[in-house]
Every structure is written in C-alpha cells, then in structure tokens.
C-alpha cells in the first residue's frame, strides 16, 4: 500500500490552503490572546489560563478537524483528482490512509505550531508555566480534533456531495459536543417513564455519557492534566470504567468507526 505518496502530495498542496492558514491564525490568537488578556488583568497564573483554555478548545478544535477533514475524499471526487490518483497504482484504502495521514498531520501541525508560538508568551509572563502540562494539553487537543477530522472524513467517503458532508459533519459536531449528554438524559427519562430516579444513575447512563467525545475529552484534561473541570456526568461516579484509558479508547472509537464505515461504502462505489 503506497499511501506515503498520497500523504506527501496532500501536504505539499496544504501549503496553499487558505483554510489551514486561517486556522493557524485562529489558534494562535486563541492561545496567545487569552494569555495576553490574563497578563493585562495582572498577576497571570498558569492554572487560571489552562482552566479557561480547556472549554474553548473543546468547542473550537472539533470545528478545525471538520474543516480540514470534510473534503478528504469528496473533494478529490468532485474535483476529479481522485480519477488522477486512482489511475496510478493506489488502492482505495491507500488513498484513504494517505489522505487521513496528510490531513491529520496538517491539523497537528496547525495546532502545535500555534501552541508553540503561544508558549513563548507563556514562558515569559507566566511564572507557574508548566511545559509538560501544556504539551499534554496540546497533544490532547490534537487527539480530540483528529477524532472529528476522521468523523468528517468518514462522512466524506460515504455521502455524494460536499454540501451533504458539511451538513452531516456539523450535525455530528453539534450533536456530539452540545447535545450528547442531553440526549442520554432524555432517553433515560423516557425509559423510566418520567419517574425520577433516586441516587446513582444507571450504569449504562454513566457509560453512555462518559463515552460521548466531549465528556471523554474534558475528563482526560481534568483528570490527567488538571485543566478545566471534570464533566458533571461522571464527577461523582464510582464506576470502574471511568478512567483516562477508557476515555481515550472512546475517542479512538469515535474516529475509527466512521472511517471504517466510510471505507466500506467508498470501496464499492463507482468513482
């Protein structure tokens, strides 16, 4: 499988992508701007900085993933470059892997470069700056963004126009980041016929809430990196599956399943 050529070509092209540069600027303004604001307010503390950064990143990083991911396959099909690359000895799986590697590398570069630039400000103005925590925070942001990038890429392999991919990807974004826990709670309420349950919620409710990507992400940040707050759904939970490893596995699952489904559909499609 010669996916390296696809990934390399994708990255070569990325230099000319306005979206990627805009995202880089946006992330830098976000990371750096918040730091500058705290400096302005006086007595900047790294604790406060990272606690404020966590929820913002939780909302913005998935958007970046979607923006960089939604065109992965449908863009190549609509522009006709898929015809070009698949006329060479690339398999459809190779095309997908190459595009995912290329796009993910681009996302990671954009976030890491912005974080690196911002860390210059942090290093200078924040006496309590912890490099290891900030690196961990950046890495986790990349993982979270990648999850949504892969969801969008998966949709991009299945749906027939980029408009539909955008609509579905933003639907997934809103559903998964804002309404996942609400949906689970609603389901629980309906199942229990509106009788209020007392005490600990059902185990499956906790599990379902916990594996929501937003919850998993915020849990890892709070638990491992002490950034932001532990999500309400699992804050008091004594369930043994509420661990960072399960949270990470949940994010990986959210990334891989759509790609797998997308691959199965793209594999048998006519170009």
């Amino acid at each position: 499988m010669n996916w390296q050529a696809i990934a390399q070509n994708d990255l070569r092209k990325a230099i000319h992508e306005r979206g990627a540069w805009a995202l880089f600027a946006g992330f830098f303004l976000g990371f750096g701007g918040l730091a500058a604001l705290l400096v302005q307010l006086g007595g900047p503390e790294f604790e406060g900085y990272i606690d404020l950064l966590a929820p913002g990143v939780g909302l913005l990083v998935p958007l970046a993933g979607i923006i960089l991911g939604y065109e992965a396959i449908i863009g190549e099909r609509e522009s006709g470059t898929a015809v070009l690359s698949l006329s060479m000895p690339h398999s459809r799986a190779g095309l997908i892997v190459g595009k995912l590697v290329g796009r993910t590398t681009l996302l990671a570069t954009v976030i890491a470069a912005a974080a690196l630039l911002a860390s210059v400000i942090l290093l200078y103005f924040f006496p309590s700056f912890s490099a290891s925590r900030f690196v961990g925070f950046t890495a986790m942001s990349i993982v979270y963004g990648t999850t949504f990038l892969w969801i969008a890429a998966g949709l991009s392999m299945t749906l027939s126009t980029s408009r539909r991919v955008i609509a579905a990807a933003f639907g997934a974004y809103i559903g998964l980041t804002l309404f996942w826990t609400v949906l689970i709670d609603l389901t629980e309420t309906v199942l229990f016929r509106f009788r209020p349950t007392s005490g600990e919620p059902e185990t499956w409710v906790t599990l379902a809430s916990f594996v929501g990507p937003n919850t998993s992400f915020n849990y890892v940040l709070a638990e491992v990196l002490d950034a932001g707050t532990v999500p309400a759904a699992v804050v008091d939970s004594s369930a043994n599956f509420v661990t960072p490893v399960v949270a990470l596995l949940a994010l990986v699952g959210w990334a891989i399943l759509p790609v797998l489904g997308g691959f199965l559909s793209f594999r048998q499609d006519d170009l």
Partner: protein, 304 residues
C-alpha cells in the same frame, strides 16, 4: 505471455441504461489499438472499468493477467493512464504533478525530462490549475509516461490539443510502441486512429460493432472505390458497357465530363480494359478510397 488486455463478456448498466453491452476484446502485447466511437458510445465506461474506477455489472477484465477488479493495483502497475474527466491538484505545479506520479509508481528521475518530452518545459513551475486544456492534457500525458509502462491507456488523448500538439502526441505514442509498450487509446476522430493504430475497434451504443485492422475494415465495409477517369471521347454506349461489368455498382458522367465508376477495389483493371477494348483512350485516372468516416457511418448504421 498474457494478453495486454483481456475483456470478457463485460456489461455495465447504470440503472436501466446499458452503457457497455457484452463486450469481448483481446489486445496482444505490442499492439497499438484504436478505440473509435461517438461521445457517449461507452468508450470511457469501458476504460474506467479497466482502471477499476467503475465496476462491471457482469463479466471480467484483465491487464497482463491481473484481474482489474480483484487485483486492480497490480493491473494498474502495468499501466500509464491519461484518463477522462480528471482534475488537477490546485496549487501544485506541473513538475509537482509529475513528481507525484513518480512517487506513486516508485520511480526515481527528473520530472523535467518528461515535461520536456511533452513540450511544456517552460510551464513546469507554474500552478497547473492555470494551464490551458491542451497543456493540462500534455502534463497528464507526461504523468502517464512515468516509469515506462507496459501499457498506455489514453482516453481521448488529443482532445484540447492543437494540430501540432496532436501530431507530437502521435509521435510519442509511436515511440512508446517502438520501445515495446502496448497502446490502447480512444478517440472520436478517425484521422487520429488511422494515423497510428494497428487495429481498430468501433464502439457504438455500448456494443463493439467491429474489430479489425484498418485495411480489413475497409474490405469488410465493401472495399468500394470510386474511379474518376478522364477520356478522349466518351459515348453513352461506353458507360453502359462499363456498368454491365460484374462488380461495378454504378457508372456515370461527372459535371467535368469524366467517367465516374463505383466498383470493388480489384475491378479497377477490368474497367480500364473494357474501355481500351472499345478504343477509348484513358488520359487520367484518380481513385477515391472509402474514408474511415464512411466506414464508421456504415458500421454504426448497420448495428442500429
């Protein structure tokens, strides 16, 4: 030695529309095969099935013994392709496009040499999206030539090219064939095919209406020739005598006063002898062979 292309009973339907209808075709290694047909005749559909871009409803295709569907990467390793309906990578230059083809095929080399060969050296470092149709076509042709492929598959290669460009592409096609490459190319322009192809397949409404050498096709389509004969004196009785000959379809007088005879190719001498016997002196003789265009019209009409 497996054939370069083996197409066995291939059908492709899109809904209720049959784009390709039970096509059988074998192309030997080393051939230049021209694939002729109107737009929409099913040429590109068949080519896209060789590339595994679309899948046959029934039947199977092989390139150099590799199944184009189950083993499509292996099949495409033998190919250099100028496909139909491609787009270029925005932001990338011509050089980078050829470089991508080299990396994809695992070939080392200098992209500029290939761009030079197709005649767009000076545009190598400009973004390909700004190229004209003809330049884009040349660039993708250069991508197809990467790695000296065993089989060149060219879908309407000369579209968008000016006559000089089309001629230099034909020259490269012949050079590649000289090197040992099999060439399979489609066109709706007869002259293109006539100029380079050893064999021709005529595709019409999804079916392969005929496969033969150009000479063979001429013979099959009647092989009729039109003779224009200038004579010193010509009387109606002479015309009747010529028309009475076997294998002469028609004889008459043109506006310029020449004798025009439509007959089978090998009856030419009989006509001249018949005139000589009657004391008619032949001053000048021109023949008009049926053009491939006539053949094509003949074939497509017949299969309707």
């Amino acid at each position: 030695m497996p054939p370069a292309i083996q197409i066995h009973d291939v059908t492709k339907r899109f809904g209720s529309f049959t784009a390709v209808d039970r096509v059988d075709l074998q192309i030997e290694q080393g051939e230049v095969f021209g694939f002729l047909g109107h737009n929409g005749a099913g040429k590109s559909t068949l080519i896209n099935m060789l590339l595994d871009h679309i899948r046959p409803t029934a039947g199977d295709l092989e390139a150099f013994g590799a199944d184009c569907q189950t083993d499509s990467v292996e099949a495409r390793k033998h190919m250099g392709v100028l496909p139909d309906g491609y787009g270029v990578y925005s932001g990338l230059t011509g050089r980078q496009h050829v470089q991508f083809a080299m990396e994809s095929k695992g070939v080392d080399g200098e992209p500029l040499n290939l761009l030079d060969r197709v005649g767009i050296t000076e545009a190598a470092d400009r973004a390909a999206e700004g190229y004209s149709k003809g330049m884009t076509q040349r660039m993708v042709f250069a991508m197809a030539l990467v790695g000296e492929p065993d089989l060149l598959i060219l879908d309407e290669p000369t579209s968008g090219l000016d006559p000089a460009g089309a001629r230099s592409m034909r020259e490269i096609i012949l050079e590649e064939n000289e090197r040992g490459a099999t060439v399979f190319f489609s066109s709706h322009i007869l002259e293109q095919i006539e100029a380079v192809a050893d064999r021709v397949g005529i595709m019409h409404q999804g079916q392969l209406a005929a496969v033969d050498t150009i000479g063979g096709l001429r013979d099959m389509a009647g092989g009729e020739t039109r003779l224009l004969i200038a004579t010193d004196n010509l009387e109606d009785s002479h015309i009747d005598a010529v028309e009475a000959l076997d294998e002469v379809d028609q004889a008459g007088i043109t506006d310029e006063g020449r004798l025009a005879v439509t007959c089978a190719k090998d009856t030419k001498m009989d006509v001249l002898l018949a005139l000589d016997e009657r004391g008619v002196e032949v001053l000048d003789l021109t023949t008009e062979e049926a053009s491939l265009e006539d053949l094509f019209v003949e074939y497509t009409r017949r299969s309707e």
